[in-house]
């Protein structure tokens, strides 16, 4: 690629390749990189060009090396170039350009030459191991380096690379921060505890305290006062991903305090308050009293919660007269009997609250006291800015779940105060599962191609060619069908997650059964010709026979056999147009039922440790058989997989044979004792470019036989198909099952799998 860029021009007698030599930057550069350093600087351009950098990257280096040189000295600028060359060789010129773009900002954050050099070294290592990920890494580098020091950054990056296995797609997603584990790991490297690290014990804690099994989720978007406070509504509690600056055990206590407090609201704040004409300050104060009220009720049931909440109230008495300060002191006074405050207003608040102890069960108490106290503060001319107000202490929620907007707000202030309430109450019962992954600075970055676009020109995945059987001529057509591997789109995993929760008990039972089978319970075989111990009953019978003069049976032994469970399964889901049909009686589509069934089965298989993969297929003629990978064998069946499952869309046709051959090829590579291809379809094979209905049926049948010859078992679960006979023809009488009521698929799929794999 050297010298082929449009405006890379040879300049001087040394033959260096320098772009745009008329650019005034050169002057600045020559002043900065003097003497020997100057020579090395000029030589860097050639190295970069040789390594594959084009004009854009070279210009980028020109500007950024000068910027860094001014900040950290010429060596910094040179070091950037060296690393740029390494990166360009490993990952291409565009990756080097991305590195140059972000480097000055990182240099500003790191502020010294040595850590900057260390950072460059880590980037070079990453480029070697994960070349596809340099661009997303650069996109997020500023945010990363704002949170992590260089050793932390290195640890985070390498953990992500290792966790992704050898899978470039997973690595890319990790560095794009799309993978929540990336964020979680990131905060952990920063020393903080992330919500996802302790989500599971918190979920149990919520169940234990409040009998509430609604799922805990992370905040998304701007909810929770910019992600700093938890929020709750009728569907459950959402928590911040991390509390900055809070580490270790204290962080865990903080999260528990959040769950205890928000759970108390869900238990005791039964009905939302209408905002009416309340001013923001009054809204804040009513919320504060309500916080104290539900906590008081909770502490009657769980006295230990006082010890959990109290340490977070750190407000001290003083003379400051700002609303947030006074409110924090009031909050403390209401929970801490030992706390004395100078302010008459705080004392009044506490007295009013205590007086109404007998009425604490009634939410009206909070409105009354809160409004009075709000009036007082108004008369005291205390300033209150609802835009910047954040509820204190940090374990308390943002109070959006307490209110609803019942009329047009009069003042813009009021709108802001209850903005959270209005959006939560009215507009957004089910916000998107995945938070927006792009940090703000990406607005200034050039747009990079999104590998998740389904536009084929944007680069769908690899393709493979497969033969197809022509029953008329009795021969296969070689290289006849093209299977295109598509990267999955993402959907909202909520609905699938809910199905899992609804069926949680069944999932658990199923995985318990599967693990029981896996471990291989010993089964006793009796009356064996050989074994390691006597079968007592057989021995006695033999002795009796001898006494009776009859020849005894020689099978006198018993032994135990452990059945090892060693099976890999690939679930192949039909997502053709017919799966968009609505199931009568359920009100939603066949595809959604299929999704739920696969989610349940998948969760159980995951828990039990059975390796499995999930593909979805549809086709549009023989050269466009799309196979979407929902889950690979090596990947875990986690939220990401669920969101891919949720993102499946119905459409096109059912060229089953090609999809089966493709799945079969993947299964053949598995080293397990048994390999199973489990097909879930709602109809017979068919496609737009095939007129003869029998052709693809016969091809699918042939594919089953090919796979059997290669050691892959197949089984088909047909949904509500008239072609139950057809499926039996394709798969064999005993290897196809028709489920007459689609709604029963989730139950049946799991027990079918169980019976198949015993």
């Amino acid at each position: 690629m050297t010298g082929s860029g449009a405006s890379v021009a040879r300049l001087n007698v040394q033959g260096d390749y320098l772009p745009d030599t008329s650019d005034p930057a050169w002057e600045r550069g020559r002043k900065l990189f003097v003497g020997e350093a100057g020579g090395r600087w000029l030589a860097t351009f050639r190295q970069l060009a040789d390594a594959g950098c084009l004009h854009g990257a070279l210009i980028g280096y020109l500007y950024r090396s000068i910027e860094i040189g001014h900040h950290l000295g010429p060596e910094g600028g040179l070091a950037l170039g060296q690393t740029g060359a390494v990166v360009a060789k490993a990952a291409g010129g565009r990756s080097a350009a991305a590195l140059f773009e972000v480097a000055p900002r990182v240099a500003r954050l790191l502020d010294r030459a040595e850590p900057f050099q260390n950072w460059l070294d880590v980037v070079a290592d990453i480029a070697a191991l994960a070349p596809e990920s340099v661009v997303p890494l650069a996109d997020h580098a500023e945010g990363l380096m704002a949170e992590l020091d260089v050793p932390g950054f290195k640890a985070w990056a390498f953990t992500g690379i290792r966790a992704a296995g050898r899978d470039p797609v997973a690595r890319f997603e990790f560095f794009s921060n799309a993978d929540p584990r990336a964020r979680g790991l990131r905060t952990r490297e920063g020393g903080e505890l992330a919500f996802i690290d302790i989500e599971r014990p918190l979920q149990f804690y919520q169940g234990l305290l409040w009998g509430d099994h609604s799922p805990l989720r992370a905040l998304s978007g701007q909810a929770g006062q910019g992600g700093r406070r938890a929020t709750f509504d009728e569907t459950g509690i959402r928590l911040p991903e991390a509390f900055p600056g809070v580490t270790g055990a204290r962080a865990f206590d903080l999260y528990k305090a959040v769950v205890a407090h928000a759970g108390a609201h869900r238990a005791f704040t039964r009905v939302r308050f209408p905002v009416r004409r309340l001013k923001p300050l009054q809204v804040a104060l009513v919320s504060l009293i309500e916080d104290a009220r539900v906590e008081a009720l909770a502490m009657r049931r769980f006295p230990g919660l006082r010890r959990l909440w109290l340490p977070f109230h750190v407000a001290e008495t003083g003379d400051d007269l700002t609303a947030p300060g006074l409110m924090a002191r009031l909050a403390r006074a209401l929970i801490d009997p030992e706390f004395d405050d100078r302010s008459a207003w705080v004392q009044k608040g506490r007295a009013m609250f205590q007086e109404r102890e007998a009425d604490w069960h009634d939410p009206e108490v909070s409105r009354t006291i809160g409004m009075l106290l709000g009036n007082d503060l108004g008369q005291m001319r205390v300033q209150f800015n609802p835009r910047t107000y954040v509820v204190e202490p940090p374990y308390r929620d943002d109070n959006a779940g307490l209110w609803y907007q019942d009329q047009e707000p009069e003042e813009s202030e009021q709108a802001e105060m209850t903005e959270g309430a209005a959006s939560t109450a009215a507009n957004d019962p089910e916000p998107a599962e995945e938070p927006d992954p792009a940090p703000p600075q990406s607005e200034t970055m050039p747009v990079r191609p999104n590998p998740r676009d389904s536009d084929p020109d944007a680069g769908a995945g690899p393709t493979a060619l497969y033969p197809e059987w022509d029953y008329v001529i009795g021969r296969t057509h070689a290289d006849w069908t093209t299977v295109v591997e598509r990267l999955p789109g993402r959907g909202r995993a909520d609905e699938v997650q809910k199905a899992l929760e609804r069926n949680a008990v069944a999932v658990r039972k199923l995985s318990g059964l599967l693990s029981g089978l896996r471990v291989g319970r010993p089964t006793r075989l009796k009356r064996q010709p050989e074994g390691d111990r006597f079968d007592l009953d057989a021995v006695i019978d033999a002795r009796i026979d001898l006494a009776a003069g009859v020849t005894p049976d020689h099978r006198l032994y018993a032994r135990s056999e452990r059945r090892e469970r060693d099976i890999s399964t690939l679930v192949l889901l039909d997502t053709s147009q017919s799966t968009a049909d609505i199931v009568p009686g359920l009100g939603y589509s066949v595809l959604r039922v299929e999704r739920e069934a696969v989610a349940i089965l998948g969760r159980a298989m995951e828990d039990a440790g059975d390796p499995f993969a999930v593909h979805a297929f549809c086709s549009n003629g023989r050269s466009a058989v799309d196979v979407t990978t929902v889950k690979r064998f090596e990947a875990p069946f986690d939220r990401l997989a669920l969101s891919r499952l949720a993102g499946l869309k119905p459409g096109l046709s059912t060229r089953m044979g090609a999809a089966m051959r493709h799945g079969g090829r993947l299964l053949q590579r598995r080293a397990s004792h048994r390999r199973l291809l489990l097909v879930v379809t709602d109809g017979e094979p068919s496609d737009v470019d095939v007129a003869d209905p029998r052709y693809l049926i016969e091809d699918a049948r042939h594919a089953v036989q090919e796979l059997a010859g290669a050691g892959v078992d197949t089984f088909c679960v047909g949904l509500d198909t008239d072609g139950g006979r057809t499926l039996r023809r394709i798969f064999g009488r005993r290897n196809a099952v028709s489920i007459d009521r689609v709604a029963r698929l989730p139950d049946r799929l799991a027990s079918i799998y169980l019976r198949l794999t015993q």
Binding site: P201, L208, R543
Partner: protein, 265 residues
């Protein structure tokens, strides 16, 4: 054959919840086969011991398990110096001599073993022993009682419908809080308010039934905890030993349980 080993001499403590005692007396009067259904550790075995004492009958208990064969129930030939000698199994013992036979956790046994009891639940009340070529007619005082924990149902292990329908059933469950506290206080010697605290903790754990735990803490485990506390162990340590650690190996669950217990105190 003398069944005095199986007789219950002193009154076992049993706190009735509803009318189960009189119900069972009526069932025994008719010698109806009975099924006691309920989660583990809620008093089924204690109940049958109490009833056996009250009715003055010996009680032959069999703890059922997966490896149990027909011979384990009915009997087998044993070899001694002179040849073979038949030895009655516990079921046959009870049938011949008029005891109450209690098959505990019968769902654990294999179904081909369980169906051996079917002829005893018919009108004729007979037990065929083909090895002896004998048809044993049940003693007039014989009754068959089984216990069954519905929580452990599964595709692979369940009572056959034909077995279930041969029995009358009584439901057992963890008692209401005040009653459970009374039981715990009685069995452990703890003060009433500490017993109530233990019951409160158990109720929390039962919230996770089906959401991480198969069962919450049983009354029996509360009694264990209470007995430790009566000896001076702290509540936290007693609950850890008797409740948290036996209930689950999952560290997240243990963490949550410990936190919830701390919140209760």
């Amino acid at each position: 054959m003398d069944l005095s080993d199986y007789r219950i001499d002193s009154e076992p403590y049993y706190r009735p919840l509803a009318d189960e005692v009189s119900l069972f007396e009526a069932a025994y009067a008719e010698r109806l086969p009975m099924m006691l259904k309920g989660p583990t550790g809620c008093g089924k075995t204690r109940f049958i011991e109490y009833m056996a004492w009250k009715l003055g009958r010996p009680l032959v208990t069999v703890a059922c398990h997966e490896d149990m064969t027909g011979a384990d129930l009915v009997g087998r030939f044993l070899l001694d110096a002179d040849g073979t000698r038949w030895h009655d199994g516990p079921l046959t013992l009870a049938v011949r001599h008029g005891a109450i036979c209690y098959l505990d956790e019968i769902v654990e046994a294999r179904q081909d073993t369980t169906v051996l009891v079917h002829p005893l639940t018919d009108e004729r009340r007979v037990l065929p022993i083909d090895k002896l070529n004998e048809l044993v007619h049940a003693h007039d005082d014989f009754q068959l009682v089984i216990s069954y924990n519905p929580g452990y149902q599964s595709v692979l292990k369940d009572l056959k419908e034909s077995t279930k329908q041969r029995f009358g059933a009584v439901d057992f469950d963890y008692p209401p809080a005040e009653v459970e506290a009374e039981i715990v206080a009685h069995e452990t010697g703890l003060e009433r308010n500490r017993a109530e605290l233990l019951v409160h903790i158990a109720e929390r754990s039962r919230q996770l039934r089906g959401h991480g735990l198969d069962e919450g803490a049983s009354t029996r485990s509360l009694i264990y905890a209470g007995r430790l506390m009566a000896h001076g162990t702290s509540l936290e340590a007693a609950c850890r030993t008797a409740l948290v650690v036996p209930l689950t190996d999952d560290p997240d669950l243990r963490e949550a349980l410990s936190s919830a217990i701390a919140a209760c105190v």
